[in-house]
Amino acid sequence: MELILVNIIDGLVTGLLLFMLSAGLTLIFSMMGVLNFAHASFYMLGAYFAYQISIALGFWMGLLIAPLIVGVLGAGVERYGLRRVHQYGHVPELIFTFGLALLIEELVQFIWGKNQMPYNVPEVLNFTAFSIAGNSIPAFKIFMIFISIGIFIGLLYILTKTRVGMIIQAALSYPRTVEALGHNVPLIFMGVFGVGTALAGVAGVIAGPVLGTFPGMAFVLGSIVFVTIVIGGLGSLWGALVASLLIGWMTTFAKSYNIRMSDILNGIGISTPENLDDNIFRDFWTVTSPQIADILPYILMVLILIFRPAGLFGKRES
């Protein structure tokens, strides 16, 4: 039973990491209506920049500077790339971000090579915080939890309690009116894009030492981020949080326990066929939960799209 507690913590770490990526993506989508395929690439850039900075100035400077650089890059992409493409409609925007993702991956390979980077947890955090029945919880994971919760609270505060947040929210629904009131809406767009990519950068900085810093890291995380924001409801910060945690816990628990499909089916009263080797459903009967853990979020997404197309917290009716 102690394992349940351990899995809750592990799932929380996975979920919060996912949240940092999906928060930026969902903000960008709700504002500009464009799905940024290159979002996970900014996450990768965050990890590589932080690694490079950490060699010279240490981990903490990396945590501070790398997201800033990524954010500035993101803002630049919006200002000089997306904004120009925007006038041609959504499809060119999609293609633009898609191409950007490929470009960034090639660029990373060109500069840093194809190998794994030795980007490691800083010495101060390289110890076991506590352990539950022999399962140690590294201090770095606790640190990851605090960083992500801090960012969530900060974002929520800015968006709901400050003047800037109010203008952003207004620009979400009535950009023309906001513009007519004298606010610089393109600047707001650029800012949101920059902040969104910077968040992805932060995620990269703190995930790089744990999940590995290599050219495939964006690809591995890319699709699941989109699933998250669809489940949570496009444009909803709370939705992104809930969906991220849901996915984090769901995949962690599915991988941690070897639940067989035959156990479930027997449990609901269907008995296992006599001769399983000849049965056409053999693969279905013998499948175990770790094998399907990674597709569970996709199944959930399909169900959500069928029964609640706007997502868990989505407001859009169209």
Binding site: N115, F214, S256, A293
Partner: protein, 414 residues
């Protein structure tokens, strides 16, 4: 398609003309492995080691047959079996008689079949296939042929060595098997089950699991299961990002005990494990460099580093391949009659500078050699990997590993 074929034919033709006029006397060795795409770094590093070995071990010592040099030519197969066969044809058309390849047993299986067919149909331009790293046991069992020689220990021999080391370790009573969900990962798990079952009644296999290859972003749930199972040793055939991710996660989450691996070194992995993998990561392989077995090896390694400062000399069998080929050519007295060269290679006993000898077993063309269990550490490391201070050090040696291992090969000689 037609245009492409034409283009290929023209470029091949021009290469033949260029090659024959420029290097008329060289003995050409075609290196068919990935030189672009995701596995380019592995392939390129292998090519560097071949070029260096040919230059240092043969050409600088006056060549073979009284002054003929070795020349290694790289052919990019993009790790595709189909592309490899095209490159094989191009190489044969260029007058190459010796093919070396190692990355991916899928490619090796395709090549060995193609070479056998080609040699049957074209007795005048026969070629030898020197396999330096493809470890699928089938290549020296049911799929063996006279033209294929394997200089690396196959997956079964390596697992034999790993399980020997586990059985000899009194601290290990429970073993967890985890690997990538594809043919090699399954072969590793099957071999581990078989050998542990044969060798010990007391060692229990507490987990046997496969995970999706290249798709797992966080290995934490897997490591939790490993820790919870009470295992005190882990065996994995993982490579690349999956190796590093799994290893790091297992160590971070409180596992204490050895992790036995096939491929947890070089390509940035050694540097990335760094301090955390010390005393935990074990590897199986041939060829010892730490501690350096002789001055000869130190000189060899230093000369390699002088040429490729970022490179790792992590495949010592490449030097053995070149050395054994050179000796076989000398013994045969010709480089053109590959039947004579192959006959000289068969049953050859070769003293390697990395210590011990290598027997090219005549019955299946599998090299029998000393296998070592290495440990990832930074102590007594004269030759580290990846520009870090860490490298692999021999902790255990199995002499002439698997010399009496059975084979189903029925060798047909010409």
């Amino acid at each position: 398609m037609k245009k492409l074929t034409k283009l290929g034919a023209v470029s091949a033709l021009s290469l033949i003309i260029g090659a024959t006029s420029a290097f008329a006397e060289n003995i050409k060795i075609a290196f068919i492995d990935p030189l672009s795409g995701p596995f380019a770094s592995t392939g390129t590093n292998g090519l560097h080691q071949f070029e260096f070995a040919a230059d240092y071990l043969v050409n600088q010592k006056g060549g073979v047959l009284g002054g003929t040099n070795f020349e290694v030519i790289g052919f990019d197969n993009k790790i595709s079996p189909k592309e490899s066969l095209i490159q094989l044809q191009v190489a044969i058309d260029q007058g190459v008689r010796y093919i070396v390849q190692g990355n991916s047993s899928g490619v090796a299986n395709a090549l060995t079949e193609a070479v056998e067919k080609h040699n049957k149909r074209n007795p005048d331009s026969r070629v030898l296939f020197l396999n330096y790293a493809a470890v699928d046991p089938a290549l020296t069992n049911e799929k063996c042929n006279f033209w294929h020689f394997r200089f690396d220990a196959n997956a079964d021999l390596k697992m034999d060595a790993i399980t020997d080391s586990i059985v000899a370790n009194p601290d290990v009573s429970k073993v967890y098997l985890i690997g990538q969900d594809y043919s090699f990962g399954k072969a590793v798990a099957a071999a581990a089950n078989r050998f542990l079952g044969e060798k010990s009644d007391t060692i229990e296999i507490v987990g046997d699991e496969l995970h999706p290859i290249g798709k797992v972003k966080d290995f934490t749930p897997y490591s939790r299961k490993i820790v919870a199972s009470g295992a005190n040793a882990v065996i994995t055939g993982n490579w690349g990002a999956d190796m590093l991710g799994l290893g790091k996660s297992i160590i971070e989450n409180g596992f204490e005990g050895p992790i036995y691996t096939y491929y947890a070194a070089g390509s940035g992995i050694t540097a990335a494990f760094g301090e955390s993998g010390k005393g935990t990561i074990r590897l199986v392989g041939e060829g010892k460099v730490n501690p350096s077995p002789s001055q000869e090896v130190s000189d060899y390694y230093n000369a390699f580093l002088a040429k490729h400062p970022d490179g790792n000399l992590d495949q010592t069998r490449i030097a053995n391949t070149i050395g054994m080929l050179a000796r076989a050519i000398e013994e045969a007295g010709t480089a053109d009659d590959v039947v004579a060269v192959a006959s000289a290679l068969e049953g050859m006993e070769y003293e390697t500078m990395f210590g011990g000898k290598i027997l090219m077993r005549a019955s299946d063309h599998q090299a029998i050699q000393d296998l070592h269990i290495f440990e990832h550490t930074d102590e007594d490391i004269a030759f580290p990997y990846d520009g870090s201070t860490f490298g692999v050090k021999v902790i255990n040696t199995i002499e002439m590993a698997g010399a009496d291992s059975p084979t189903t090969c029925e060798m047909k000689r010409p």
